[in-house]
Amino acid sequence: MFAEVQYYFRLQLEDNTEVTLAMVSCFSSPNKTLLDVSYNTLRSCTYLGQDGLMVIDVKYINSVIAMVPHQPFGGDSVQRYFVVEKPGLEVTCLGGVEERVPENE
């Protein structure tokens, strides 16, 4: 599933455990026609905004992806986004290029 994170937050449960959650807006599932025509490589979704709002445990987050806007069905159709994963996520990860984390931003 692909989603846009709105924000992260922590919540104390009744038993005093604290969970870390993310408020996210999901994207639709990928368009079937485009999947079929592309050997499953073109995963094109629409953004569901408020309709796709949900809460997830942050530990379900697998990776950061790109959702790149495109208009496969012409300019007047609804805005779509295709998924780009970092090709071989580990290619640079293995080399030790970790993202620098500025103190704050």
Binding site: M1, F2, A3, E4, V5, Y7, Y8, F9, R10, L11, E14, T20, A22, M23, S25, C26, F27, S28, V37, Y39, N40, T41, L42, Q50, G52, L53, M54, V55, I56, D57, V58, K59, I61, N62, S63, V64, I65, A66, M67, V68, H70, P72, V83, V84, E85, K86, P87, G88, L89, E90, V91, C93, L94, G95, G96, E99, V101, E103, N104, E105
Partner: protein, 847 residues
């Protein structure tokens, strides 16, 4: 990906008319029903794969036999080449010369003077200290800290900082620059050895060349007539002391134990699964390694090595060749071994000219390895507090196409046997032009001597075997004269015996099996260099052909411009963790477009930006490649995915011949070696583990960061050698004293460590706030469905928002809350995430 598609036409790919007809090619068994490929594939990760000879040569019984170790032993093929016999065959001078290096390597000893180790260094190598290293003196520690922190500035920085400290604390006995450098050698035992070389870089005066006074190639004298000193030298960093350093600290030693742990785990897995691996997660999952372990050639205490060679231009606009080789210590986990801190520089070959006899440069480093393979390297393992004898196992030789010919002694991509992993497919050339192309399908009306063989079949491709290499090598060596040599070189695809034949077969993967594919250059340079010019209609077109008949050549004029803009427009949507985004190809493709840019452009953005741009048939064909590359590039590959990738790659190559080359002699040059190489990739994973583990990305990065560190552009080569040595010494120091280094990527102030590699990062709301009704609603759903907690109707929690989350893979996921405050052009959007498996509530049918 369905197994039983009715015909080939699911993607609109035209069938090859010749294959539909009733002509000889069909009788020849070359019909290639796509639906049959998958069934032709070996069982995932089974013993059949381990023999690596293609399905037809596999003994029928084995795959699910629980007695797998015995079975594997029967298929073990390690190199069995009699070097005496081989030497006796050699007639020609250059072949004899190559043999002399091999024999010198075979007979290597630490005492024979080649490695130039002094008695003290030799003693230390054979009797490593058996206690943790200790920096007793605070002044020495200060000196080391100072040295490390000024490593990227000049010597002057060290000296003046030292002076400044001494002004305030005159009693401190901080070592001078020269002193600290000597102390580092004492502490680590890591030095370089220097050998003379030709001033024009042709050869090094090593091995059989050691006594020469002038270059065999260019005749330049070795020494300056006045000073009597060598006019040029090069440095080799010996592995022994560096390996010992890696074991000297308890934590570092613990890291070196990764291979032992994972090997035991893999053997267990094989036993449990009847010889089948469910995934390929590292080099050690490959059959070459597993065979070597089962065969007893690799012991727990050994060290497993990869050598990687590459040439670079130091300056873009003038000849400034420089060749470097590195060692990668496979014993470390994949998360560590490719990092700057653990990659060891083997040797640096100064330019500006290209080396001609690379064997002579590799010789000192390999000689040392060979000597240690024989004698055994004693290592004090700080983790277990024991001295162990380690043999160096040579697992892999890696290089790009041109560099690889130096290592494997094969002819290179344009030869008749141009396949770099030495499969037995031979190419075809155009009449009168000697460049061969590995087209499986024979052109129409084609009759060229030596090339007119019938179609090969992609479902049952020509095999690959070490015996073939041995047989052909003998045949080449026996060439009685230069004319015969050239003829046999053409026939066999072998130029010369590889220097690696000199390493003991018990301590290496056999030649040529230790030389694998290079996915970096293949995917990110060779393939784009073929497809994009084809699509732009700028690819070479013979007189008898016409670009106007190229239905795929659509990236022209406005289409190309608009496409270029699409690619560039994706930049703000590519997270910073994706590294350098691809620039507008319409503007920049010929100005140093990087391998990484091609990777993101073709295999990341490709399916999106080429949709409705390439004709559908060609688009679908391209997508197969993307599908496969995305799998092959992974560092952990599921066996079923690997099978799917194999099928896609083989189909891609087959269809490339049909869609583009179309059996036309005047288009043979379309079928480059890169197309053929794709068909080997998935099977190479079975042999060598995920190919990202042996790719040239590490080498490229190492060259990049070494060259960046050059401080003297007056003497760049000498300086580079110096930097290479320092890198090795510092790496050894850091391994011995992990606390010399700041912890990597520490958890920043105000962050919250959630465990398992997750860290919440600021910004954070100063005060808790109420959330919207919609948000509250989905939170209540989550609590009820996932946690089983019911909340009161009027429940309205207050929360503090956090902006960022660091993931276990090192990426930082951001959020709309903060990112939306910044203009799009200033953002590399990183708030979109892939969520692992759908949590219980799907957003589409919410409560």
């Amino acid at each position: 990906m369905k197994q039983n598609e009715p015909t080939t036409n699911t993607t609109g790919i035209p069938r090859d008319p010749e294959q539909d007809g009733n002509d000889e090619s069909q009788a020849n068994g070359s019909e290639t029903p796509i639906d049959d490929w998958e069934s032709q594939l070996p069982e995932p990760g089974s013993l059949e794969d381990i023999s690596c000879q293609g399905p037809q040569s596999v003994p029928p019984a084995a795959p699910h036999d629980p007695m797998f170790p015995e079975e594997i032993r029967n298929t073990v093929q390690y190199e069995d080449i009699d070097l005496d016999e081989l030497s006796a065959l050699a007639k020609l001078d250059h072949i004899k010369q190559a043999m002399e290096f091999i024999r010198a390597l075979e007979g290597a000893s630490l005492d024979d003077g080649v490695s130039k180790l002094g008695p003290e260094a030799l003693h230390r190598l054979r009797n490593p200290p058996t206690c943790p290293a200790d920096i007793a003196s605070q002044d020495l520690r200060l000196g080391l800290d100072l040295f490390l922190s000024t490593i990227n500035s000049s010597q002057q920085t060290y000296t003046s900082t030292r002076k400044a400290i001494l002004r305030r604390h005159p009693d401190n006995d901080i070592p001078t620059y020269d002193q600290i450098k000597r102390r580092i050698v004492e502490i680590t035992g890591v030095e370089s050895i220097e050998h003379d070389m030709c001033v024009k870089s042709c050869l090094a005066y090593t091995g059989p060349f050691a006594e020469l006074n002038a270059c065999l190639e260019c005749g330049e004298p070795r020494c300056d007539p006045i000073t009597k000193k060598a006019r040029q030298t090069f440095h080799t960093m010996l592995l022994g002391p560096q390996l010992q350093a890696l074991w000297r600290d308890k934590d570092s030693a613990e890291q070196m134990l990764y291979r032992r742990r994972v090997t035991a785990m893999i053997l267990e897995l094989l036993k449990e699964n009847g010889g089948i691996l469910p995934t390929y997660d590292d080099y050690f999952y490959g059959s070459e390694y597993i065979e070597a372990v089962l065969d007893g050639r690799v012991q727990d205490t050994d060290v497993v090595l990869m050598l990687s060679l590459d040439g670079a231009q130091l300056y873009r606009y003038k000849q400034s060749d420089c060749w470097i080789y590195i060692w990668v210590i496979m014993d470390l986990s994949p998360g560590l071994r490719y990092k700057k801190k653990y990659v060891l520089i083997g040797g640096i070959i100064p330019g500006p000219h290209k080396p001609k006899i690379v064997d002579s440069y590799l010789f000192p480093g390999l000689h040392h390895v060979s000597a240690l393979q024989k004698e055994g390297l004693p290592i004090w393992n700080a983790s277990h507090n024991v001295v162990e004898i380690s043999r160096l196992f040579f697992a892999l030789g890696a290089a790009d196409g041109p560099g690889m010919t130096y290592l494997n002694g094969l002819v290179g991509h344009h030869g008749k046997n141009g396949c770099r992993i030495y499969c037995s497919a031979t190419g075809r050339h155009k009449p009168g032009i000697s460049h061969y192309y590995p087209a499986f399908y024979k052109p129409y009306n084609y009759d060229v001597e030596g090339c007119s063989h019938n179609d090969y079949s992609y479902e049952n491709p020509p095999s690959r075997s070490p015996e073939l290499y041995e047989k052909n090598l003998r045949y080449l060596m026996e060439s009685p004269n230069e004319r015969q040599y050239k003829k046999r070189r053409l026939e066999t695809g072998i130029c010369k015996p590889s220097i690696f034949l000199g390493l003991d077969p018990r301590h290496k993967v056999a030649i040529p099996l230790c030389f694998g594919s290079d996915i970096m250059h293949l995917e990110s340079l060779n393939i784009p260099d073929l497809l994009i010019p084809l699509w732009r209609g700028t690819f070479d077109c013979d007189k008898t052909d016409s670009r106007s008949t190229w239905p795929w050549a659509v990236l022209r004029g406005d289409v190309w411009e608009a496409h270029g803009r699409d690619v560039a427009a994706a930049t703000p949507y590519l997270p910073g963790s994706f590294d350098r985004p691809p620039r507008n190809p319409a503007e920049k493709i010929s100005s140093g477009y990087k391998a990484w840019e091609f990777l993101l452009y073709l295999y990341g953005l490709g399916p999106g930006v080429f949709y409705n741009v390439l004709p559908q048939t060609y688009y679908q064909h391209f997508c197969k490649l993307v599908f496969a590359v995305r799998i092959i590039n992974q560092h952990q590959i599921k066996t079923e995915d690997l099978q799917a990738a194999h099928q896609a790659l083989v189909e891609f190559a087959h269809e490339f011949e049909l869609l583009y080359y179309q059996r036309r002699t005047d288009r043979l040059h379309f079928v480059r070696q890169s197309i053929h190489a794709l068909t080997h990739l998935a099977l190479e994973v079975i042999r060598l583990g995920p190919l990202i583990c042996s790719s040239q990305w590490t080498m490229e990065r190492t060259i990049g960061n070494l060259v960046e560190e050059i401080r003297s552009h007056l003497h760049p080569y000498a300086n580079l050698s110096q930097r290479g040595l320092e890198r090795c010494q510092i790496n050894a120091l850091k391994a011995m004293f992990p606390d010399l280094e700041e912890p990597e990527n520490p958890i920043p102030r105000g962050a919250k460590d959630l465990g398992n590699g997750f860290v919440l990062l600021r910004a954070r709301d100063g005060t808790a706030r109420h959330i919207t009704d919609a948000e509250c609603q989905v939170l209540k759903c989550y609590l009820r469905d996932t946690r089983g907690i019911d909340t009161p109707q009027d429940w309205s929690p207050k929360i503090s928002r956090w902006a960022r989350l660091r993931l276990p893979n090192g990426q930082v996921a951001r959020s709309a809350w903060k990112e939306k405050l910044r203009p799009l052009e200033k953002v590399r959007m990183a708030r979109n995430v892939m969520v692992r498996c759908s949590p219980s509530t799907s957003p589409l049918n919410k409560c």
